[in-house]
């Protein structure tokens, strides 16, 4: 099904998932304005949110099944396999977040169903980011996502930590948006257009890149660097992840990061494939992010903070995929982001079961003896930790292996070596969690009596574990999907491997 965005019907069809989600978000907003007092209102809002996400996923599936695509026409909205796969990741991350939020919101007395509306709007921003084929769309989508997540980070406003996290996130997020926007303005000035495909076409016939273009590109990378929490721009991430309510942290660490990376891929490979200058910057960003993220994570006592730094380290691994580039790099990114979303959300879900009042005080020692008292929960956390480490048999291993293949086939052997070495270092903070759960006794009698998840949380954790083990031993289907998606981003564009 070839869509021509000049025809209104086709334009609406190409935006079908986003329109479905927008409709649901508005319906939910009306519902919330009407019912927002009791626990049941919160639960109904949560179920409606799940329904919204399922119908959005069906709309994405329908477009994917019919091979909908915008081909041969310049459009502000891209419709390709890359977008569908990225959309599934966002919808999946949002759905798992909703599942682990039920118990959390009731326990922490956050009886405000607006939470779910913001979650839907944030997801909508992510989907538009992956769809944007024009810098205007990408900027607006980024802001839609960011503004929703600023509010979510401060959702527990009665706790000072949550408010402080929201303030830090807001100030640095708005600061980063300023850089991104100035980058867009300079790229617009240098090329005369904001459309990614047109920028790519104009740059491929230009003799050499102008100073204005290079400055714009550098500012764009700084803006994206903040959003993905790459190392020189990561200082907000641990504080914000620490202070925000834990389901929101999980959403930020997975969905927001995935969306920023999806937009980064599209911008870099559709618009700037002909400008080699950014490859070196990405190379250095990847190296210092992998080293810095892992070293900082080693020194953390709080489990939530450790997971925050671990998400910085994983941004480094994903940057290796960006640097490697090409079809292999793009599909490796998609495989890894699926695995990362699952394992990260699973780890945060178990943290929610253990912790109370923001979870910032749960240390690794607090998990001692969890395996004896709650064997299934401990097993789930162990699988997530092994997968984050990249242990064979889990999806995390498959993802890392695929990134390594992409990097070595692009000639980036140093980068691949650093990835392996830093993964070994990361065992220094993932394995103590498993050792504490399985090899240490309970510190005091009945330390884990109140550890519990409701059935929705258990469903989420079970889905995560099944997904991680399934993709760990049988990744073929995911590979095929990711490869088709990687092809679709580079088709027609001037694909170049890294130098």
């Amino acid at each position: 099904m070839n869509l021509n965005p000049a025809i209104p019907r086709d334009l609406l069809l190409s935006l079908l998932p986003e329109l479905v989600l927008t409709g649901w978000a508005l319906v939910l907003l009306l519902f919330v304005a009407w019912r927002h007092r009791t626990v049941w209102d919160l639960r109904i809002a949560g179920w409606l949110t799940l329904l919204a996400l399922v119908s959005t996923a069906v709309a994405i599936w329908w477009l994917w099944w019919n091979r909908a695509g915008v081909r041969g026409v310049v459009s502000m909205i891209a419709a390709d396999d890359f977008r569908w796969v990225a959309d599934w990741v966002f919808v999946g991350a949002a759905a798992l977040t909703v599942l682990i939020s039920f118990t959390y919101l009731e326990r922490e007395r956050l009886l405000a169903p607006e939470y779910h509306v913001l979650l839907l709007l944030g997801t909508l921003g992510m989907m538009l980011m992956a769809a944007g084929a024009d810098l205007i769309v990408i900027f607006l989508a980024l802001e839609l996502m960011s503004v929703a997540v600023y509010v979510l980070a401060g959702f527990d406003r009665r706790r000072a930590r949550s408010a402080e996290a929201a303030l830090k996130y807001f100030l640095l997020g708005a600061f980063a948006s300023g850089f991104l926007l100035y980058g867009i303005a300079l790229v617009y000035g240098a090329t005369g257009t904001t459309n990614l495909v047109l920028i790519g076409a104009r740059l491929s016939i230009a003799m050499r890149a102008s100073a204005m273009l290079l400055a714009g590109l550098a500012l764009l990378i700084v803006g994206f660097g903040f959003k993905i929490a790459a190392v020189p721009f990561h200082m907000w991430a641990p504080d914000v992840y620490d202070g925000a309510p834990t389901p929101v942290t999980a959403f930020m660490a997975t969905g927001v990061k995935a969306a920023a990376f999806a937009a980064l891929f599209r911008v870099m490979y559709q618009a700037f494939a002909a400008v080699p200058a950014w490859h070196d910057i990405m190379w250095w960003l990847a190296v210092i992010t992998m080293i810095g993220g892992n070293l900082f994570a080693l020194g953390q006592r709080s489990l939530k903070r450790m997971l925050a730094y671990s998400s910085v380290a994983h941004a480094g691994y994903l940057l290796v995929a960006v640097t490697a580039g090409g079809v292999a790099g793009t599909s490796a990114f998609l495989v890894y982001i699926v695995a990362y979303t699952l394992m990260s959300l699973g780890a945060f879900a178990v943290l929610i079961a253990k912790g109370r009042a923001g979870e910032s005080d749960v240390t690794i020692d607090d998990l001692s003896g969890l395996a004896a008292r709650r064997p299934w929960l401990a097993f789930a956390l162990a699988v997530c930790m092994l997968s984050l480490l990249g242990f064979p048999g889990t999806a995390g291993f498959i993802g890392k292996w695929y990134i390594l293949i992409a990097a070595t086939s692009a000639g980036q052997n140093t980068l691949a070596a650093i990835l392996v070495l830093t993964s070994v270092v990361s065992a220094g903070y993932y394995l103590p969690v498993i050792m504490a759960m399985y090899m240490k006794p309970e510190p005091i009698e009945a330390a884990h009596v109140d550890v519990c998840l409701d059935r929705w949380g258990r469903a989420a954790v079970a889905a995560v574990v099944v997904g991680l083990l399934l993709f760990g031993v049988w990744p073929n289907r995911l590979f095929d999907l990711a490869r088709a998606a990687g092809d679709s981003v580079h088709a027609g564009g001037t694909t170049t491997a890294a130098p």
């Binding site: 205007i136 900027f139 607006l140 802001e143 503004v147 600023y150 509010v151 401060g154 406003r157 000072a160 930590r161 408010a163 402080e164 996290a165 929201a166 303030l167 830090k168 807001f170 100030l171 708005a174 600061f175 948006s177 300023g178 850089f179 926007l181 100035y182 867009i184 303005a185 300079l186 617009y188 000035g189 005369g192 257009t193 904001t194 641990p238 504080d239 914000v240 620490d242 202070g243 900082f296 020194g299 953390q300 006592r301 903070r305």
Partner: protein
């Protein structure tokens, strides 16, 4: 041709905004500096639109709408923080740190 002076002024304004964000400690002043950055970019867009067509001017409207939404959310967040600490200085933001 007025293009270069306009671009230079907006670059200076943007730099002033960045410097303000990095040097000042009051959350509201920092927020004002971020707005200065966004408006410097607006100036760039308008200046470029002289020679590149309407696209730049349209972009300015989007940026203004986004800046308004950010102001609404940002000031609400600053208010929430003020209720806890009776201060909006970043020096008092010390609950979240490594350790």
């Amino acid at each position: 041709m007025l293009l270069s002076p306009a671009l230079a002024i907006s670059a200076v304004l943007f730099t002033l905004g960045v410097a303000g964000v990095l040097l000042r400690r009051n959350a509201i002043v920092i927020f004002m500096c971020v707005e200065l950055m966004l408006n410097a970019v607006n100036l760039t867009f308008v200046a470029l639109a002289q020679s590149l067509g309407l696209g730049g001017q349209v972009f300015v409207f989007f940026v203004m709408a986004v800046a308004a939404a950010e102001a609404a959310v940002g000031l609400a967040i600053i208010l929430a923080v003020y209720r806890h600490k009776q201060s909006v200085s970043l020096q008092n933001m010390n609950l979240l740190k490594d350790g």
